[in-house]
């Protein structure tokens, strides 16, 4: 066994700014890299985001040879789960063009109630919520990958009601007809109308989705305020909170809102009463990625290399016949890829986002009309037990709080856009016991943004901890916040990719892991495999191949 010193290679690849995330001890050895060029890969995938990892697992299970790379020393890309140190390093080294104004801030707190050691946090840049009716979840179940994951309830959906400071400011959004009829704050007429409005939007089984009003250009607010409903704003806000969309109710197209609300109710009760969504323990999306990547590796068809990427793509002569034949080195060269490590590998297909491929994609330019969002991750020193209570065990580990426009005031201005606060409890394994994580997001406005977040979190902490009964009446504190601005408009899959270079559009997860990921992944899968059949299905365990056929 002879190891080649790869120090010189590493030198050419390190960036000018020191990156504490890059641990030199995890660099790959040149000896191992040699093996990578023994094969013509079916696909080289750059980046371990959720789509890339889903594709890798599906391709590997379909018998394709996959080389899966990531430039970072960790898995997950936009779903990565980071310790405190890693998160701080990330904020100092954000390479993504659509993420701006990043701020990492710790807060002074009383002795003993502060942040714990870096590794006791597993923080993700997005909360990774999955509706139980999500096609991603069904895929995971169908392919048995759910057995490697632990799903926890996202229990309560709340609206923050600033108008009633004396009573509980968090109003639970009713989930069932009984909930609605048991609600003491609603008069009988309103109860009936709410049920009727809901029926009109969600439809009963078998009824076509889409009321006549859907296509009329009405907003959700206009629809619910029309004479036949005349619902009060508190109800409109409750409906809006179920959409997970950041528009004001008056700017929320009815059709879109209906679709989202329908999804919520379709999801309710699928895996138990009273909840419509789940998160996976340990930073949801990141855990999904890792389980998918392991599933790919377990087939023996996928090789994983971190801290490596593609620096150059050379496609063979453009008028070559379509590749069908078995790898035959003399006739079929495939695409030549130069890797960051200096190695050259050959492959039939290349997949990645523009930020992971040496391509300048027009799609990756941020247009001036892009919608900007403020996003923030808060760590607080309170378990916020009250919002995780559920009627039926187990308790929830996630909760959603909708903060309507106009409910939080800072320096005489109030928030003109609504905010969503997604709360994760320490049951997720993402923070130490006694603490919680809050993910806040809001559409950017001309009149400010992130300064409302601190005020919102403080107000929630005050209200929630004063509600908490018993002796430990210590108000929670903010321990940490990481805030950034992101441009989150999802373009359709880019068509500029050639037959073999498959360019994925930029993906910015918000609250939910979007269903569209599956479609985007399947599209590329189909181009590589020729069909969508058996996507992600486990092929029957193969007999070990006869010795000698192996590379390696």
């Amino acid at each position: 066994m002879c190891w080649v010193d790869v120090t010189s290679l590493l030198d050419t690849t390190t960036t000018n700014t020191p990156n504490p995330l890059v641990d030199p001890s995890r660099s790959f050895s040149a000896m191992n890299i040699e093996a990578l060029d023994q094969t013509v890969w079916d696909a080289v995938i750059a980046g371990t985001g959720l789509r890339e990892s889903l594709l890798a697992a599906a391709l590997a299970r379909a018998g394709k040879k996959v080389l899966h790379l990531d430039q970072n020393p960790y898995y997950g890309e936009e779903y990565a789960a980071l310790s405190l140190d890693e998160l701080e390093a990330w904020t100092q080294n954000v390479k993504l063009s659509h993420i701006r104004s990043v701020q990492y801030k710790t807060y002074p707190v009383p002795e003993g109630s502060g942040l714990k050691k870096s590794r006791s946090y597993t923080l993700s840049l997005s909360p990774g919520l999955l509706y139980t009716a999500s096609p991603i979840l069904s895929l995971l179940i169908k392919s048995n990958l759910h057995e490697s994951l632990e799903f926890l309830k996202v229990g309560g959906w709340f609206v923050y009601d600033a108008a009633t400071p004396l009573s509980d400011p968090l109003k639970r959004v009713p989930n069932t007809r009984e909930d609605i009829f048991n609600d003491k704050t609603l008069d009988p007429r309103t109860k009936r109308v709410v049920v009727r409005a809901l029926k009109s939007m969600v439809g009963s089984e078998g009824v076509n989705l889409g009321t006549a009003a859907t296509s009329s250009g009405l907003s959700l607010q206009q629809y619910l305020e029309q004479p036949s409903f005349r619902l009060p704003s508190s109800i409109i806000v409750a409906f809006t909170s179920l959409t997970l969309l950041h528009n004001l109710p008056s700017e929320l197209p009815l059709g879109e809102a209906e679709e989202r609300i329908k999804k919520h109710f379709d999801s309710l009760g699928r895996f138990g009463a009273g909840f419509s969504a789940v998160i996976s323990r340990y930073a949801s999306g990141s855990e999904l990625v890792q389980v998918l990547c392991r599933a790919a590796a377990v087939t023996g068809n996928a090789i994983y290399v971190l801290e490596n990427g593609i620096v150059d793509i050379q496609e063979p002569g453009s008028v070559s016949p379509p590749i069908q034949a078995l790898p035959n080195e003399s006739t079929e060269q495939g695409i030549r890829l130069s890797l960051k490590s200096g190695d050259v590998v050959r492959t039939r297909h290349v997949v990645g986002t523009a930020s992971n491929l040496p391509i300048t994609a027009p799609a990756d330019q941020i247009s001036s009309e892009s919608t900007g969002y403020w996003m923030s991750i808060y760590v607080v020193s309170s378990p916020l037990k009250q919002i995780f209570q559920t009627d039926e065990p187990p308790p929830a580990a996630g909760a959603i709080i909708y903060v309507p426009a106009g409910s939080i005031e800072v320096n005489g201005y109030s928030n003109t856009n609504p905010m969503y606060v997604v709360v994760h409890s320490s049951d997720t394994g993402e923070c130490p016991d006694g603490q919680s994580i809050l993910y806040i997001s809001m559409k950017e406005t001309s009149s400010g943004g992130a300064e409302f977040f601190d005020a919102t979190v403080k107000s929630l902490l005050q209200n929630l901890t004063s509600q908490e009964s018993g002796a430990d009446n210590t108000a929670g504190h903010i321990l940490l916040s990481v805030t950034f601005k992101t441009c989150a408009d999802l373009e359709p899959p880019d068509q500029s990719s050639s037959g073999r270079v498959h360019l994925l559009s930029r993906h910015v997860p918000m609250i939910e892991i979007p269903d569209s990921l599956v479609e985007q992944t399947m599209e590329i899968y189909e181009k590589i495999v020729g069909s969508r059949d058996a996507f992600l299905e486990k092929t029957a365990p193969q007999e070990p191949e006869p010795p000698g056929e192996k590379s390696g």
Binding site: L137, D266, D427
Partner: protein, 207 residues
């Protein structure tokens, strides 16, 4: 509680440099076979399972192999979740393999649950002429990194090959709290069952 007793699950992992014989040891233990020149990972299998009866109690030992992700040290942190025990395997006929072990201990320290039981294994004792690591060095390394046990094995000749697995189970069972269901990693009670059977179609719609 009167339902048939459900076996207690013990999750164990194998880690260590590529080609040290992790997969071979696993196959030797579970199937009692040795396939020379077979350098593949256990294809298509996420983990191997061995049912054990100890003191009339039933156990399921789940053994997870690295799936080749150790080759470039790209094991995922999720691989380590919920592990009760880890076998760290090096090749006694390959000095580099031994020298890389501090890094594997570090990785286990970083990702595995606190209090996980570690056992150090020097494999390929049959290669006597090529031996490049003294047993005493292994012993010392185990002590230094808090591995509870050290042994040398040969997956090829069966020499001590089952010992690390048996020792691991012994130690897990005799260590107070090692199987405690209240350990964060094992707090299964909070988990939503999303298996196909659990699905109750379109349950709680408001309308």
């Amino acid at each position: 509680m009167s339902a048939p007793e459900r076996p207690t699950v013990i999750k164990a992992l194998l880690i260590g440099p590529s080609s040290s014989g992790k997969t071979s040891l696993l196959k030797r233990y579970v199937d009692d076979v040795f396939e020379p020149d077979d350098t593949t990972t256990t294809i298509g299998v996420d983990f191997r399972e061995k049912k054990l009866t100890i003191n009339k109690k039933l156990y399921r030992l789940l053994l997870h192999d690295t799936a080749g992700q150790e080759r470039f040290r790209t094991l995922t942190s999720s691989y380590y979740r919920g592990a009760h025990g880890i076998l760290l395997v090096y090749d006694i006929s390959n000095r580099d393999s031994f020298l890389s072990m501090p890094r594997w201990f570090e990785e286990a320290e970083r990702f595995a649950p606190e209090g996980v039981i570690k056992i150090l294994v020097g494999n390929k004792t049959d290669r006597t002429a090529q031996r490049a690591v003294k047993a005493s060095e292994g012993e010392e390394l185990a002590k230094k990194h808090g591995a509870i046990y050290f042994t040398e094995t040969s997956a090829k000749t069966r020499d001590h090959a089952k010992e690390p697995f048996q020792k691991l189970v012994d130690v897990v069972l005799s260590t107070p709290g090692a199987l405690d269901p209240n350990r964060v990693v094992a707090r299964k009670a909070d988990v939503v069952d999303v298996s196909a059977q659990a699905q109750t179609q379109g349950g709680g719609c408001a309308c």
